[in-house]
Symmetry: C2
Subunit: 344 residues, 2 copies
DNA sequence: ATCGTTTCCCAAAGCGCTTTGAATTTACGC
DNA sequence: GCGTAAATTCAAAGCGCTTTGGGAAACGAT
């Protein structure tokens, strides 16, 4: 059932039917009701492609997901973000189109999206230092919101980020306050912007306490469970193992815990761990008392908000960037405690 | 840059340019090269909406993700599936459109997709017993592939599933062979088709060994980590705790492990666990020796394959259903061992 | 030269919708 | 009853592409 058929059926012109359905004032209330009823009855929905061709908008938001051996974007954190953003989209009648591309094709993917006109805007995930995508998207004139920030990028753009530096400063400070002296950082990939900021916060707290960084106690890598395990094992079996860990992701924290247990140590007593908790719906750190002491911020809420910002930007058409910096909650769990008196 | 401009620029008609780019034989090789070069130079991509309006195909596949309090589809498993499917899509020039809807709107979402013409086909996730979506999609004439199966649905349709019954039969049998007598099942939501099949396999193995089912040792729920923990705690602190667990998801297995450890028991010695492992890229159970004994099947590979089947179906246009049943690997890890001699 | 055949290219229609500009009907005041 | 304004409705153009049905040019064969 298309517009023409529906119009014929009603004995009206396509114009009138279209206007009736889209709420234009030039059509009388009685015919509008009549049209609405018929549309309902025939289960009519305007063809999206035709509609967006006519109005020049795609009614869709794009997410480009680079995929490769070294850099895997489709992770549980991303899934939760998507869930949040998706809610917002469907509430506003937008679709979400995901483009999974090998990461050497990422630039092309954005170019394609812009040229093909398949989306009205995009969300940029996992910004890196000096991220070239931001310039590209500006050049293409495609509205976008960055989840995170790209330090080094001086031009103005919309982003939503958490205060990574302060989060990790506070997390580290907590361990210092508990008496820990050898504190390890298990971080994300060094090229990711958030990882740099977290490291900065970590080092900042150490410096304040008068400690100089120990590169043996700093790891960066993609935040999987096995990575956390490996990093944990290496450090715990090293010559002078840490008594505290600050970990960038709940997922790798699971690996760190495994390493601690494998080493016969007791989490929260022998070794303290503070993690960043994205409040993932499937890997909740909730409970009467959370298992892990964590800096928490819901990535799902971030998804919702990023989507809202982007849609507002598209609707308004003005290029006024919106920038939001969210603080995280530092919640105490069972994974932290005072340093054991005895040196290990 | 659109087709008209490109054609004008070349001094050719739109027809010729279109044909040149789409590889039709009616255009000479020399002009084809000339057109290709110009398209490259101007960074021309056909407008997708116009194109699909003209050819009547959307070049996109839909995934409907129901979302609600009780039934959360955006999980790490789904993320991996998406990653696999997405690879296939982009290799074939298709987009993936996700529609996140509250689950009382699911039917509407499929209807919308079909009527709006925004996709050429859909993948159905998480089939339930007697799933109404299958009938709906047949009625709508929208090509689809089901990831899993819907028992009770008698009509013929394309699906890709793993042999859940046999998997869980084997897993249970392994524990029986190791001497375990009280074996618990921590399963997914009862309404999900796979959960029913897994329970069937579980009970089948028990029955073969002459054991009758004990409802105290069977749980079902959404497969989160906290759920696994709760289920594990309840059973382990019950009057006659299990010495073996069969768990439906790696994620809830993490919860079960936490419960075991919290109870002061030793995984693999006091309590054995066999899990189903979807081979998630972020929560890998790999290693020289896997942590968990598991029935393994890559959900990412399943995503790839489902996408292939669907695309083939769309391309060919015939309605010949494809059905694939994959066996899982039963891999031994560190989480299983003979039952302790002493009764606990 | 003439007549098919190829080869190469084009004008125009059509996909299903929105929107412009105009036409028709109705309402109202005089 | 007439003129004007307001309220409705409509025909047609256009969004950017593909594709149908020819037409012109080039090429051999007669």
């Amino acid at each position: 059932m298309n517009l023409r058929e529906l119009a014929e059926n009603l004995g009206l012109s396509q114009t009138t039917v279209s206007r009736a359905l889209n709420g234009y004032p030039e059509v009388s209330e009685t015919t509008r009701r009549r049209v609405r009823a018929a549309a309902e009855r025939f289960n009519y929905r305007p063809n999206l492609r035709a509609r967006s061709l006519a109005i020049g908008r795609a009614m869709a938001i794009g997410h480009v997901i680079p995929i490769s051996k070294k850099h895997e974007m489709v992770n549980p954190i991303f899934a939760d973000f998507i869930a949040g953003a998706g809610e917002t989209y469907s509430r506003n009648g937008f679709d979400m189109v995901l483009s999974v591309v090998s990461d050497d094709n990422e630039t092309r993917a954005y170019r394609d999206m812009a040229a093909k006109g398949s989306v009205d805007g995009v969300i940029v995930h996992g910004p890196r230092r000096n991220d070239s995508r931001i310039r590209l998207l500006k050049e293409l004139g495609l509205p976008f919101v960055v989840h995170g920030r790209a330090s080094g990028e001086t031009t103005c753009y919309s982003w939503l980020d958490i205060n990574n530096t302060r989060s990790f400063d506070r997390a580290t400070q907590l361990l210092l306050d508990l008496g820990h002296r050898r504190i390890a950082l298990v971080n994300g990939l060094e090229e990711m912007d958030f990882a740099r900021r977290r490291r900065k916060g970590f080092l900042q707290a150490l410096a304040r306490a008068g400690f100089s960084p120990d590169s043996d106690l700093m790891r960066s890598g993609e935040m999987t469970e096995p990575y956390g395990f490996r990093a944990g094992m290496e450090m715990l079996t090293g010559s002078s193992p840490p008594t505290g860990f600050v970990v960038s992701s709940y997922i790798s924290t699971l690996g760190v815990r495994r390493a601690i247990e494998t080493s016969g140590l007791d989490l929260g007593r022998d070794v303290s761990v503070v993690t960043h908790d994205d409040d993932l719906s499937y890997l909740s750190n909730d409970g009467d008392v959370p298992v892990f002491t964590a800096t928490r911020s819901s990535v799902r809420a971030a998804g919702r908000r990023c989507a809202e910002i982007l849609l507002a930007q598209i609707q308004s058409g003005d290029g006024v960037p919106v920038q939001e910096l969210w603080e995280t909650e530092l919640t105490l769990g069972l994974s932290t405690g005072p340093r054991n008196g005895a040196e290990r």
